[in-house]
Subunit: 334 residues, 2 copies
DNA sequence: ATGAAAGCGCTAACAA
DNA sequence: TTGTTAGCGCTTTCAT
């Protein structure tokens, strides 16, 4: 590998065939004999040849590259998802470029611009508000967790999400089963579809349990952060000391709440029951461990990559909307 | 941006000059007039032109791409570092490809192979054992936190680390000042230089404080994980109930220890004092918050990128070894 | 200060 | 089944 790079032409010469033939063997485009294939492959193996992606990309006008847009890999949920996808794409011989936008439109634009100049073949967006919709590249795209606003141009995109509404519903149902009657919800402010739907599930859960939906009991946070979870819980519990259970639309928020409780000597699950959403690893380490709604990161990643690769191979979109089942993981906080 | 791609030739035609001239303007290679420059730049801006990196890469035999090799972005320390570098590289117009090896030699090899075929211009390795030394690409390389084993070929690489030894020393000094006499250490097993040096600092600290270095008080873990931190603390405290303070060579380990203490009703800092290394954000959220040795991720990232870019520009390595100061952050656990 | 032209390594259309 | 050849968009001599 450290050895000097070898080219198609050199292989062709060594194999005693033309570069076109070698190219065909490499791309399995048929029209070559068994023997030729064998001979060429031997040389390729011997010299550890790998096609120059730049040349290939230039020629085909698209590189073996896909961009993964994430708001912030510092968040474990995104990190896991991105990592999982990268490895899967690697197996398909695609280079995944993980781009952190830091929730900044400027950075997102810069990344998109770079990706474009690298002739990316596909794109995966993971959970966040699209900041600059009309700067989207026209390539096969998978959106995860966030409903694409622009049902743009071709239907060259698919949207994958967990059963967020069902998750919210299950969360409330669990709380009710544990004896809660006054149940509050904490949700991320804004129009992000996943959080919105979880909140809808919460409302549905209340209704189906014969409980009233009290808008006063629904709180919003500015961001998904421990601090926001901590602060909003303080406010919520002051204004509604009678609340028995709280559903948070993200684990990080719920974990912030748990800290607040610990600090203020409010006992979970005795004084208050808390449930989150995502099932990140920190849930197992909080005091008490956090009950939450589990999302299958692995399976979502797998499905996303499978669909994207298929689209990039030129196949038509099969299902443009895929929903993934969730499950309740009961731990100490309820 | 969604608009169809425009090429050098088209710009040249519109500007009424040759493509060579346009190319010179774009690359600021001199030999063009003020007016020409202005005219060309206007068109470039108007059409939002970006050079095709594939073509450019093919021609120059190196892409505007650098690879960042990380064991696992799921770890906040790596994630922060990678993210920071990516943004800085973006400003320099380099696409950063963050590659997770998951501590697997196979995956590292696959990534390296891909990076090679993408003609990367540079490489950054962040903390981990080099798995396959002789598969290294021959490009400017920055090693962070891990001493490169192969002082290979050209001196085309630099090694950046925090003052790990000093950090271990300061940690012990702090513990001593807090009244500890029996001080244990927990370190990652293996030859990773950063952990090794922190342990050396620990020993130095004991000696300079007139305390004996008791090898029985040094414990190793298999990995940097909460679980390992938890388990090793259990073992340590059982075998040496008289220990008053413990230095962990990574925050994650120390945080696992703090959990253990909480679970077993051992009061930190009263019964035992605990100090970590890294200063990840979770330190502020533990019970009690974790005293630790702070590493300047931002500054390391900045320096790494600055040096790498300089090297990729063809400048000779200035300093092949850079050390970064650390500081003690005192929190509740001591 | 500017242009013409030769490739970089590869794919694909066309011939044979 | 195989070879020839024309570019993909760009940089870079070498002329002018």
């Amino acid at each position: 590998m450290t050895a000097k790079k070898i080219t198609l032409a050199e292989i062709a010469q060594m194999a005693g065939v033309s570069i076109a033939t070698v190219s065909r063997v490499i791309n399995q485009n048929g029209r070559f004999s068994r023997e030729t294939e064998k001979r060429v492959n031997e040389i390729i193996t011997k010299y550890n040849y790998r096609p120059n992606q730049m040349a290939r990309g230039l020629r085909k006008n698209r590189g073996k590259v896909v961009g993964i847009i994430v708001p912030d890999v510092t968040n474990e949920f995104f990190a896991k998802m991105a990592l999982e996808m990268q490895n899967r794409l690697l197996n398909e011989d695609y280079m995944a470029i993980i781009c952190n936008t830091n929730e900044s439109g400027e950075i997102e634009k810069a990344h998109l611009s770079m990706l474009k100049s690298m002739l990316v073949s596909g794109l995966i967006y993971i959970t966040h508000e699209s900041i600059d919709t009309n700067h989207t590249l026209i390539v096969p795209t998978i959106y995860i967790d966030r409903e694409p606003l622009c049902k743009s141009a071709e239907d060259e995109n698919v949207f994958i999400e967990s059963e967020n509404l069902e998750g919210g519903y299950q969360a409330v149902k669990h709380l009710v089963e544990k004896g809660c009657r006054r149940i509050a919800a904490v949700c991320l402010r804004g129009q992000i579809s996943s959080h919105h739907n979880r909140l809808e599930g919460y409302k549905k859960g209340l209704k189906l349990s014969g409980l009233p939906v009290d808008e006063d009991l629904i709180y919003c946070t500015q961001a998904v952060s421990y601090e926001d979870g901590y602060d909003v819980t303080d406010k919520l519990l002051r204004e509604h000391p009678d609340v028995e259970g709280i559903f948070y639309t993200a684990d990080i928020l719920a974990l912030g709440a748990l800290q607040y409780c610990l600090k203020n000597n409010i006992k979970a699950p005795d004084d208050i029951k808390i449930i989150g959403f995502d099932d990140i690893s920190a849930c197992t380490r909080s005091i008490p461990p956090l009950t939450t709604i589990h999302q299958s990161v692995d399976m979502i990643a797998e499905l996303a990559v499978k669909n994207l690769v298929s689209m990039m191979d030129g196949n038509p979109v099969q299902r443009s909307y895929i929903k993934f089942p969730i499950s309740v993981v009961v731990r100490g906080s309820t």
